[in-house]
């Protein structure tokens, strides 16, 4: 099955060259030149088949990449990759806060981007070997059904947040380092960006913790990593 990807990029040359390169990798690409156009296309995808992944450039005219990302997130849990021109903490963290699952920095090799896409898509399809139901106090996780409930109410998590929670839940009580989480949730190698984990943990807390500033489930173990309170 061919994966369906929406590419949001205002620079026509970059867009075209990226489309060509990604098509070579075997993906089906739809293009959008602005955030507004991207939202329209995402709402009514060609052929009625929803996108498997969206790539958004941060620097867009009009609605910028962050807003576009937030709008998409509001309606869908689809994996999002941000394309940034800077590796500064500000842009990266802002992109992740807006709901992106991962990011690449210009100029990137198409192979690097393809590897990120593959990792996110592969992940999106496989959540196996975990028990069908886990519960931690008022937090209930159904890994197979992809459902999380807090005090009986369903919580909407992105794919990354969900996988992060499942990974912590499968090792409840044990500390997982940022590196371990990067490897297991993002399929990153040893030298991944620890900010990915930090920002996603923060976002996860806003959804599964009654008081995110004072977490009871997802705990920080100073200097070592994160753990889920058993």
């Amino acid at each position: 099955m061919t994966s369906h990807i929406l590419l949001v990029e205002d620079d026509e040359r970059i867009r075209t060259s990226m489309r060509l390169a990604l098509e070579d990798e075997g993906y089906e690409i739809a293009e959008a030149a602005s955030g507004e156009e991207a939202l329209e296309i995402a709402a009514q995808p060609p052929g009625g088949q929803p996108f498997d992944l969206i790539i958004i450039d941060i620097m867009l005219p009009g609605m910028d990449g962050f807003d576009c990302c937030r709008e998409v997130r509001r309606q869908s849990m689809v994996p999002i990759i941000m394309v940034t021109a800077r590796t500064d903490t500000h842009d990266v963290v802002a992109g992740l806060e807006a709901g992106a699952d991962d990011y690449v920095t210009k100029p990137f090799e198409p192979k690097e981007l393809a590897a990120r896409i593959r990792a996110l898509l592969r992940r999106a399809r496989a959540t196996e070997g975990t028990p069908s139901s886990l519960s931690f106090g008022d937090l209930e996780i159904l890994p197979e059904a992809g459902v999380v409930r807090l005090a009986g109410e369903e919580v909407h998590l992105t794919r990354t947040e969900f996988l992060l929670l499942c990974e912590l839940a499968a090792n409840a009580g044990k500390v997982l380092s940022r590196e371990q989480l990067l490897e297991r949730v993002w399929s990153y190698d040893y030298f991944g960006d620890g900010r990915l984990v930090d920002v996603h943990v923060r976002r996860l807390r806003t959804k599964v913790e009654p008081d995110p500033a004072n977490p009871h489930h997802v705990l920080t173990v100073r200097g070592l990593g994160y753990k889920l309170a058993p």
């Binding site: 620079d11 040359r13 970059i14 060259s17 990226m18 060509l20 390169a21 070579d24 021109a85 800077r86 590796t87 500064d88 903490t89 210009k106 100029p107 990137f108 090799e109 198409p110 192979k111 380092s177 940022r178 590196e179 190698d189 040893y190 030298f191 960006d193 620890g194 900010r195 100073r222 200097g223 070592l224």
Partner: protein, 515 residues
């Protein structure tokens, strides 16, 4: 304000121009002011003391002399009366001497009457004798009698053809004067010390702005460009502070503009590079369909685009480091694991020898930056020396030394510092520049990253030949015990707030930071 240009005279023929400046600077401005104050108060107290002493001395002496003279006249009058009454001279003299601290003698009609063993005719000054006896004139003279300053008075008694002599001891007066002298000397010493202290305090106060300026300048030199002087409430100093701050403002603007320019240029290059990279990969996927000549051209294109990409990446990295906006994302890891992983990620197959003493030791590093360090060093070895032959990890004091060895031609001693500069290429590579695919920034970035971690890097000759690049980074204190882990965690906590600055506790390796 007068501007004084600093002239440097390297190896001047005379060789002496710096000597006087050196002598001055050795004493120090503050010490000089203190010394001046001390000498000033010493001179002042000496002058005042001397005047006081001599005035007091002469007045005391005058007083003593006049009272002695009065007493001598009174005694002479008494003597004349009693001689007239026919009293034995010896008895009169004994009576006189009993009532006072004096020794008396009488000359009467060519005969001397002494009642003391020590006082004899020769003890009295000859002038005094001559005046009193021969010229019948009263006289007085200061003399030394029995080693004690004394005042001798001679009073003629013409009625009895006699002359009365009296020797008064001035010892009590001398003691009084001595006490006054000691008091004055003590006061002088106290004044001098007080003057020195005042000088010390005043110069400290006066020089404080200078010290502030120098501290601010040091802070600015070490990269804290937001350092400014406080205006203070003294007008002269406020002028200095405001002109200093204006200078720093300009400097900061200039530095930021330069850094921004490099950064902007690099950013502008990113978009076309993205297109180039993507288009290149499309072309490369169809490489086999191309005719031979096009294939060759594609290879050249690919090599240059990749190099261009690396160069922009390196430029951005270095401009971020220059701007001081590099964020160091430290985590605590085991040294051996770190080096092995970093070497593996670069794809180089090189043996990593971890010394047993280094095994299990922890280090707080930004792993991404460390990976860049290793990648650049291995890349450098690959490009100039046919690849690294060995990576060694060993402990040296409180640091770990990571050595990347190769079997290449080695580095000329004169080149060993220069190769860490930007766009510096070894002389061996200069001739074959056309084949190089380096960015010229690799080793410079290594040096910057290492510096950011409070370590240092250098190159030395390898043991069987070739070159060994050594990266020395500070280790965390303890081994991997529980306590060590806790401290390591605490260290990372501390580091998180520290941003780009390596913390003091971790920055003190065995050597300095610079090369």
């Amino acid at each position: 304000m007068r501007l004084v240009a600093r002239r440097t005279r390297p190896d001047g023929p005379s060789g002496a121009p710096g000597s006087s400046a050196r002598r001055h600077s050795r004493l120090g401005l503050r010490n000089r002011v203190t010394l001046t104050f001390a000498l000033g108060s010493l001179a002042l107290s000496t002058t005042i003391g001397a005047i006081t002493y001599f005035t007091t001395r002469s007045s005391i002496l005058r007083q003593a002399e006049s009272s002695i003279a009065n007493e001598a006249y009174a005694n002479a009058t008494l003597l004349r009366q009693q001689l007239g009454d026919g009293v034995e001279p010896t008895r009169i003299l004994t009576e006189i001497d009993e009532s006072a601290l004096t020794q008396s003698a009488l000359w009467i009609d060519g005969r001397w009457v002494f009642i003391h063993v020590t006082l004899r005719e020769a003890s009295l000054p000859p002038d005094l004798r001559r005046f009193a006896i021969a010229e019948s004139t009263p006289a007085a003279e200061v003399m030394t009698f029995e080693g004690v300053p004394s005042y001798a008075v001679g009073v003629p008694i013409p009625a009895a053809k006699a002359a009365y002599f009296e020797v008064f001891s001035l010892a009590p007066t001398a003691r009084t004067l001595q006490i006054i002298l000691v008091a004055l000397l003590t006061a002088g010493a106290v004044t001098t010390i007080a003057g020195a202290l005042l000088g010390l305090w005043a110069s400290g106060r006066a020089l404080r702005p200078l010290r502030d300026v120098s501290q601010a300048a040091l802070a600015i030199a070490s990269g804290r460009l937001d350092t400014r002087l406080e205006a203070g409430d003294v007008r002269d100093l406020a002028v200095l502070a405001s002109s200093f701050n204006r200078m720093v403002d300009r400097l900061q603007q200039r530095i930021e503009r330069d850094a921004r320019f490099t950064s902007d240029v690099s950013h502008e290059l990113r978009s076309p590079l993205t297109t180039l990279a993507a288009s290149l990969s499309v072309l490369e996927a169809r490489r086999d369909e191309l005719p031979e000549r096009s294939k060759k051209a594609l290879e050249l294109l690919a090599a240059e685009i990749r190099r261009f990409q690396r160069m922009v990446g390196d430029l951005l990295e270095i401009s971020r480091l220059d701007a001081g906006s590099a964020d160091v994302d430290r985590s605590v890891v085991e040294v051996g694991e770190l080096v092995r992983n970093a070497a593996a990620v670069t794809g180089a197959t090189v043996p990593v020898d971890v010394d047993p003493a280094a095994a299990g030791r922890l280090i707080a590093v930004d792993k991404r930056r460390f990976e860049r360090i290793m990648a650049n060093l291995l890349d450098n070895a690959r490009r100039h020396a046919g690849g690294a032959t060995r990576v060694s990890v060993a402990v040296a004091g409180q640091s770990v030394r990571i050595g990347v060895e190769d079997a290449g031609p080695g580095i000329d001693p004169t080149e060993r510092t220069r190769i860490f500069e930007r766009f510096a290429r070894g002389t061996a590579a200069a001739g074959s520049r056309g084949a190089g695919d380096g960015t010229g920034l690799g080793l410079a970035l290594v040096a910057e990253h290492v510096k950011l971690h409070g370590g240092r890097v250098w190159v030395e000759p390898g043991s069987p030949g070739g070159a060994r690049f050594v990266v020395e980074l500070p280790l965390l204190e303890e081994e991997g015990t529980e306590e060590g882990e806790a401290r390591a965690a605490a260290a990372v906590e501390g580091l998180e707030g520290a941003g780009g600055q390596p913390p003091a506790t971790l920055a003190t390796g065995t050597g300095g930071r610079g090369r």
